[in-house]
Subunit: 344 residues, 2 copies
């Protein structure tokens, strides 16, 4: 079977079509009025929880509004830990952003239903399907081009991430920034073309026994997602950390069979690269990706805020090639189904 015969390979390689669609759709999306809100909550499950983590960071940084990401199950089962109150004891006005590839994920769906009964704010839904979740939305952003045959999310995640990031830029009136999103698909295509071979070499390198993914701020949620790809597609131990957190315990695991993939930022480049250098000293194999001065350099000239999605395709390809090399089927990871629907 050729690489091209796997759905995962096709979905990764052509994902920028879905980015373009996301950009077109978010250009004209209705926006909620932030004056009505004291905070924003982002919910999802698995990949879309990690997407929520990344987006909450973008949202708070751009709007200033207190923003938090939680798993759908926490909003559903422990709402008192998610929804906050003002000094009168009333629920704060909360903008809820619910993210789900299928639009049918049970926890997210049930959590949104409960949230609506509380009458404390609108619901924005980001999904790849017009489904049950979108029907509950006050504002619905659906990107059908992100739909996938594979179980593990790749183009779905990146399409919804582009939509989320541009939504944050628009809602904070950063008009110059908003325009720059249209440059992403061409740069994404260039990276996929130029670094597929790098991804294959690294993915096929069986000397790695486990991986850690480092990223801070916006990039932490992306590190979580890429770590999950390695679990799902390659059945390899992998775990995400904030860069400087890795020094506080986890680095006990650093050795020659450990690959550490760093999603390096521009704003804290030196502090993050210092961690990278220290882990090299401990014998770990480091691989960095960032705008410039890294093993893979994006050279996007885009603001940090816009370019996050560019971290994804090459590392997704790495997971794909590792999966094949290990004799696994990347399209159908062990134990998993594409949609988790429960009888709660």
């Amino acid at each position: 079977m050729n690489f091209e015969d796997y759905a995962t390979y096709k979905e990764i390689s052509t994902q920028t079509i879905a980015w373009s669609q996301a950009i077109e759709i978010v250009k004209s999306t209705t926006l909620p009025d932030l004056k009505n809100y004291q905070n924003a909550i982002f919910v999802g499950c698995g990949s879309t929880y990690y997407l929520s983590i990344a987006t909450a960071a973008l949202f708070q940084t751009s709007t200033g509004l207190q923003s938090r990401a939680v798993p759908g199950s926490e909003l559903l089962f422990n709402p008192q830990f998610v929804l906050s109150k003002n000094s009168d004891g009333k629920l704060n006005r909360t903008l809820l952003v619910a993210i789900s590839r299928s639009g049918t994920t049970t926890e997210t769906l049930r959590a949104v239903e409960n949230f609506k009964k509380m009458n404390c704010g609108e619901v924005v839904v980001i999904s790849n399907y017009y489904e049950k979740l979108s029907h509950l939305a006050d504002i619905s952003i659906v990107i059908p081009e992100g739909q996938e045959v594979s179980v593990a999310q790749t183009r779905s995640f990146s399409s919804m991430y582009v939509a989320s990031a541009m939504f944050c830029a628009r809602i904070s009136n950063q008009d110059e920034m908003v325009k720059r999103f249209s440059e992403l698909p061409a740069i994404g295509n260039r990276l996929i073309r130029d670094f597929e071979e790098t991804a294959r070499k690294m993915g096929e390198d069986q000397s790695f026994e486990s991986f850690f993914f480092l990223g801070s701020n916006f990039n932490y949620g992306l590190a979580c997602e890429l770590s999950l790809k390695f679990k799902e597609m390659t059945l390899t131990h992998s775990e995400p950390f904030h860069f400087l957190e890795f020094r506080h315990g986890p680095m006990s695991m650093a050795n020659g069979k450990v690959g550490i993939i760093g999603l390096v930022s521009e704003s804290n480049f030196q502090n993050e690269m210092k961690v990278v250098e220290e882990m090299k000293q401990l014998g770990a194999q480091l691989f960095t990706i960032g705008e410039t001065g890294t093993d893979i350099s994006l050279n996007s000239q885009l603001p940090e805020y816009v370019r996050g999605v560019l971290f994804l395709p090459v590392i997704q390809l790495m997971a794909f090639f590792r999966s094949i090399k290990k004799g696994l089927n990347p399209d159908n990871p062990k134990n998993l189904t594409a949609v988790v629907e429960l009888n709660l």
Copy 2:
């Protein structure tokens, strides 16, 4: 060398002395006036970041105030992602709770120094030493009995967690709950005595190749901390997840060599145990700990809010025994030092 000769063993076995001291100290701690605040931020590094996660959940649940935990490095390097603004564009009034065993952790210290310059709220410090960090505090809670010789935190963590939980109960005027904390040390001693043998058997079982720790709400931060113990002391792959999140991808890793340790709550017992049952079906070895109906039952009769610390000692002992069995030195984990001080 006997178990008793290891500092870690002594520190775990006698930790309830430090809990008692924490309870005594927090009884008379000055409390900030919550009316002055729009939100609370909890910061720490490594273990104390996980302690912050657990405490932020307790704090928001009991006070209703929006509460979030972040690593010290995020507050230091990406404050715009941590500190939020109101609709006038001014920083929200923020209660900052900074937690550090040594009181000298560089990121936390520097982050608190910067925070104070912003004049947007008081600083509460929880530590085991009167050190630099306490000198910056408006309110300082220091528990010297939690001090340790070992690198990996055990009694230090639990003593500061008891202090944090009781602080949350006091600040939310839950007087009946506050009284119940004094029951913890006796119950902790009973658990350590009754379940040391269980911990030894499980810790010495070399059929486990990796571990996952499941916990939701308050218990998620504790799951993170216990997972870190297994990395530090036993150099074993381990990772924490919220219960229902484990279904969304990570369960691809479930097999007969995987141990899954569930910190089961009372409030969501059925939903959490359903995940446990499913993972058993996939062949994983499950081990549950909870108030009742679990492999280890606490039988504490204490409110869920108060009893969290009781999850810790037996699992800490498990990590200790696994470390010894693997021929490692639990007192001095590979690559680590007790205090992380950086030249930032």
